[in-house]
């Protein structure tokens, strides 16, 4: 188990009567690029939200580097209405908030870009460095942390340079073209020094050229920052091109998993997903 960077164990997420994710188990190994695909509403983003602590799962557990970070089981009203499986398999309650998950080393981007709109490109990345501070509010207010501040600024400059954003660093983030905004979101996530990067539709709204660039970009940051990448994506070219392994979700349940070739030839996947999109 130690070699898995991320392991989701029997995750079920139920909203009222709707089971958004049903008994999802998956593993992500170190250095891999894994894709999670599936038709709209299959529960992909919900799965991400469970990993990052936005939602506490109804049932199931998540492990990160062998350490349990999330676990929950149905209780109260949900106990009666629970529609999933594995009832009683989990008995602990670990419900961290997203900031704790990020501090452990899991960073994410969002499906709809969520940059801090009133800030410049530079400040957007710099704010993400806030997490790494050792100063408290007094030392920060009276600038007793100037060394740390200078270090954070230098690290930010360097990160922007590596990701090719240093030309636009003083511009307001909303004035950037779409592709660069996506790239800035990744830069911001990288500023938190993650070992696992979750990308939620990084190519959404991109043209073919930008998508091709993104493939190189993801490979590059994976190698440069020693990352493991777990992403949700709809662009099949990108997914098949980049992924080491693919997980396929449909109506909240895992229907297939394997290498891109295996997924392309899987009849169940074709009927649920690829088949439909080819019609």
């Amino acid at each position: 188990m130690a070699e898995h960077v991320l392991e989701m164990k029997n995750i079920t997420m139920q909203f009222g009567g709707v089971v958004a994710v049903n008994d999802l188990s998956l593993e992500v190994n170190k250095g891999e690029i894994i894709s999670l695909i599936g038709p709209n509403g299959a529960g992909k983003t919900t799965a991400f939200n469970v990993i990052t602590g936005v939602y506490a799962p109804t049932n199931g557990a998540v492990y990160f580097n062998g350490k349990e970070i999330v676990e929950n089981y149905p209780s109260g009203k949900m106990k009666k209405n629970y529609a999933g499986t594995n009832m009683g398999a989990f008995t602990k309650r670990i419900e961290p908030t997203p900031d704790i998950i990020t501090k452990l080393g899991i960073a994410r981007t969002f499906q709809n870009i969520r940059l801090w709109k009133s800030q410049t490109v530079f400040t957007n990345v710099l704010i993400a460095k806030h997490m790494t501070r050792t100063s408290n509010i007094f030392t920060a207010t009276f600038r007793l942390n100037y060394k740390e501040e200078r270090k954070q600024r230098e690290e930010t400059e360097e990160l922007l340079k590596i990701l090719g954003l240093d030309q636009v660093k003083d511009e307001l983030c909303t004035s950037l073209p779409y592709g660069l905004q996506r790239r800035l979101e990744i830069a911001r996530a990288l500023a938190t020094n993650p070992s696992l990067l979750l990308l939620d539709e990084p190519a959404a709204g991109m043209n073919p050229q930008e998508t091709a660039d993104l493939t190189d970009f993801i490979h590059r940051i994976r190698d440069e920052f020693h990352l493991t990448v777990f992403m949700i994506e709809h662009h099949m070219d990108l997914v098949m091109d980049i992924s080491d392994r693919i997980y396929v979700l449909n109506f909240g349940a895992l229907i297939a998993h394997g290498t891109p070739e295996e997924i392309q030839n899987n009849p169940e996947v074709i009927s649920a997903y690829l088949g439909e999109s080819e019609d």
Binding site: T97, D99, W116, K117, L126, I137, A140, T141, A189
Partner: protein, 365 residues
């Protein structure tokens, strides 16, 4: 690299100029105190303006920079004002002040500056307690909860059963006060400077991130509960200090004056000055106080009527004032300063564009 150095040099120059201007402002106040008779209304405006500037900036820290819409400011000012007054009334005067409560329960006094800081700390402590359940609420709900808290505090302080401490609904008076305008400017100035430092620190940036997008802020490792609590507590600390200053300025205080109307006045100053602009809040505070206390006074003077209809009469000032505020809100929807700060660099830029426009105008002719 060269360019960066040049920019750094320039900002250094501008900050030196700003500092000189600030010192000049304090010198001006000193000079004014020396030449203008101390009973002049100008000093009332300056003192009250400085006090309101502080509380407006503290409210802006919360509403403008952290995005928490809170309306509890009057309650925290009340806590500050009462803390200061209760702990500084001289022992000899206590029998007179607490005449219905046998001299009150507290039989010691604190030094003025200790009491001033304690005023802030008490307000901050209560803010911390209230923040625990309330800060999970969003926008309007938070506003209603904090407004309700302020009203409850006011009611409690007027309660007879607590009279041995708060003197019930009677006035608190005879505590030490400062008559020098410079004192109010100094205390208020120092506090606003600290808030400015905070806003530009790493914590201030985190506050702004929470304002811009809570979900993203949390996902980037910013602990929402902790940072909101920090902002709320610090904002209330300075509201408490400004309450103590207000107590000194008025020489007597009573809980009944800290109504929600007071919070709305402060909110108005923040909105007129620009939500998210510290200098805007300061400017708007002095303008607001000057208009309500001084410049529009003549409208109340019935002797100045020249028209056969008696338009000018006591209270007419408030009608005109309301219209002025409506006009400001209509034409400056983001306030006087918007989200910008008043800076030397900004003014120079403005002047440059004006010069270019002037040149163009001349060429056209």
């Amino acid at each position: 690299m060269e360019n960066n150095k040049l920019i750094a040099l320039k900002t250094k120059k501008y900050s030196v100029i700003s500092l000189v201007l600030l010192v000049a402002l304090f010198a001006l106040v000193l000079v004014l105190e020396a030449i203008v008779p101390p009973t002049h209304i100008l000093f009332t405006v300056l003192k009250k303006g400085a006090i309101y500037a502080l509380v407006a900036v503290s409210m802006n820290l919360l509403n403008g920079f952290t995005g928490l819409f809170s309306l509890g400011q009057a309650g925290f000012m009340l806590l500050g004002a009462y803390t200061y007054a209760i702990f500084t009334i001289p022992l000899a005067a206590r029998d007179q002040v607490y005449q219905y409560f046998n001299g009150g329960a507290i039989q010691f006094t604190l030094p003025v500056f200790v009491a001033l800081i304690l005023a802030g700390l008490v307000a901050a402590f209560f803010a911390y307690l209230i923040g625990l359940p309330v800060l999970h609420l969003k926008s309007d709900y938070l506003a209603i909860a904090t407004l309700g808290f302020a009203e409850i505090i006011r009611a409690i302080f007027q309660w007879d059963k607590l009279g041995v401490i708060t003197n019930g609904s009677n006035l608190l008076r005879k505590y030490p006060v400062f008559h020098s305008t410079l004192f109010y400017f100094a205390v208020s100035g120092i506090c606003i400077a600290v808030i400015l430092l905070l806003i530009n620190s790493t914590y201030g940036r985190a506050f702004k991130a929470i304002r811009d997008d809570e979900v993203a802020a949390e996902a980037m490792g910013i602990n929402l509960a902790k940072h909101k609590q920090l902002s709320f507590t610090i904002s209330s600390f300075f509201a408490g200090i400004s309450g103590a200053l207000l107590a000194m300025f008025q020489t007597t205080i009573q809980a009944s004056q800290f109504k929600s109307a007071m919070t709305y006045e402060i909110l108005l100053i923040v909105v007129i000055g620009g939500i998210g602009s510290v200098t805007g809040s300061c400017l708007a505070s002095f303008l607001f106080i000057a208009c309500s206390e001084w410049w529009l006074r003549f409208l109340d003077n019935a002797n100045l009527n020249i028209t056969p209809i008696q338009i000018l009469r006591p209270g007419f000032r408030k009608v005109v004032f309301s219209v002025v505020i409506m006009l400001i809100v209509l034409f400056y929807q983001k306030g006087i300063m918007g989200e910008h700060e008043f800076s030397i660099a900004g003014i120079l830029k403005r002047l440059k564009t004006l010069r270019i426009m002037w040149k163009r105008y001349k060429r056209m002719r």
